[in-house]
Assembly symmetry: C2
Homo-oligomer: 342 residues x 2
Amino acid sequence: MSRNEEARVRVGVVGATGAVGEVLLGLLEEREYPVSMLRPLASGRSAGSKIAFRGEEIEVVEAKPDAFDGLDLVFFAATGALSRELAPEVARRGAIAIDKSNTWRMDDDVPLVVPEVNPEAVDAHKGIIAGPNCTTIGCVLPLEAIHRAAGLESAVITTLQAVSGAGRDGIEELEAQQAAVARGEAPRPHVFAAPIVNNAVPLCETFRDDGYSTEEVKLLHETRKIMGLPELRVAMTCVRVPVPVGHSATMLLETTRPLDPSDARAALEAFPGVEVVDDVAHDAFPTPRDVAGRDEVLVGRVRRDLTSDRLWLWNVSDNLRKGAATNAVQVAELLLERGHLG
Amino acid sequence: MSRNEEARVRVGVVGATGAVGEVLLGLLEEREYPVSMLRPLASGRSAGSKIAFRGEEIEVVEAKPDAFDGLDLVFFAATGALSRELAPEVARRGAIAIDKSNTWRMDDDVPLVVPEVNPEAVDAHKGIIAGPNCTTIGCVLPLEAIHRAAGLESAVITTLQAVSGAGRDGIEELEAQQAAVARGEAPRPHVFAAPIVNNAVPLCETFRDDGYSTEEVKLLHETRKIMGLPELRVAMTCVRVPVPVGHSATMLLETTRPLDPSDARAALEAFPGVEVVDDVAHDAFPTPRDVAGRDEVLVGRVRRDLTSDRLWLWNVSDNLRKGAATNAVQVAELLLERGHLG
């Protein structure tokens, strides 16, 4: 980052009061991103409230076009509708929008970036850069590590997703239902399509007519775009589980060349942003509780399928951090490194 | 059951005070199994306590060889060690043992029976009949339904397993940890290798040296034996989730002949013991909460893989009922129907 180490960036955060926004503000502090000015923004409903940043209280202003004047970089950690309306306004002002929502990911003019996988993609930006869905991020790091080691032909993925994937409302719904059950009352679903306490719900987001959830289809298309493998076969089922933070997934991978589990572990361990926790002699494997608050994707249960050359993996990642805010801040760091800011 | 409708069976239940034993006693009542005499048995620790059956309190006697004298049929819903020692004592007395444990399942002289799938297997019994693991039962019904419709080549399965799969101790551990977290305390694991509250733990039972859990390997070998398909390829990862009752699984199935999702739904709906709950227009899918207390395996999320001819299914079953006690009582009913008792 030598070239830009003096750079100071005027930063906006849309959705500053949300679950991801809060983590994002903390990461900008923690990673010492060179923020010269911070402007928290939110929909009209949250405007006027205050957020804390570097020990200061800063008032949240309403997210509307002229609120982006004078900014270099704007993170969107809010609804897709807000991104659709406002990210082009950021680009029009010569600034760069880093969007966490689903809105722009598959747009041909928008790079979809996971810095460990396709950092060079940021260079083609036209003012908007998208980050993938939290589920995709946790899977695509180990997928890329295996792809570089042995070629990736296909993946069969089942995700176990935390309620915070649905934001603060998801966390509050789980907590409210846990309290209801403790009082002997029936849990009432609002955010999710069925009670999530003491349950597993095989629907993340909403159903499409073909029987897939919108969440599931993202995993196919985003993975292909990020890895630059338009023919990659990804089969997936996404399930919501009563976990506050931390998405897990089982992945069965077919590789071009057979890969020993020990070589797979070495390839994963060497990959940036991935940590291997895998020692069956000591019951060591990663869980959502272990990964909450961390930036790495943790991988364990690496083993060969009993009836083929395929490899099983289990991966967990903090869906609010690496799955959202950390990835966005890493993209912001990459923009500095590659001379797009300052 | 006409031939045996007058039959009266003297029944023993080893493990009568456990999680499965309690459900089993309830099912014998509910399904009006012709019990002429009931003898509840347990390890020395629980002997002397009382259980309720048909409105009577019956004292639990210690499970030891001469306690089986005078019985026709003995259910084992206890530890594998007790089955290993005592099931042969039942057979030696000319009675039949129906064992729920892992002990005898892969023994060539012991039929492994799921009545909807391989009822004729009971005819070869030599005094011991095994029921499969609760995880296998929930999967093997839909697998057999699809196999009969289109031929089954392979299955990729990820299970999400309830804590009651580890018996009463598992339920108590989840409840204790939920209470601890509500008090702001750290959950302490005893039964499971990691905290299970608000978490997902990719280890059911114990690890083998090859990186598989003992639970996972059962799913391969038991499924092959029950379905009579010794070459069937089953790839699996088993995960424990904070659900009290009800095992779930995602299954990706490769069939010999392509099968439309609508034909798959029809085949599943027509299969005994299976019920399809699958209507994406109304967010209808089965969850563990829906299946707890029921005897059917519920199946939903039936759809074609986006990049192949394979089929995805989601199935849930009550691991204490169809996964254990119901299957055992169905085997007992089958023994009457096929003239092995009375």
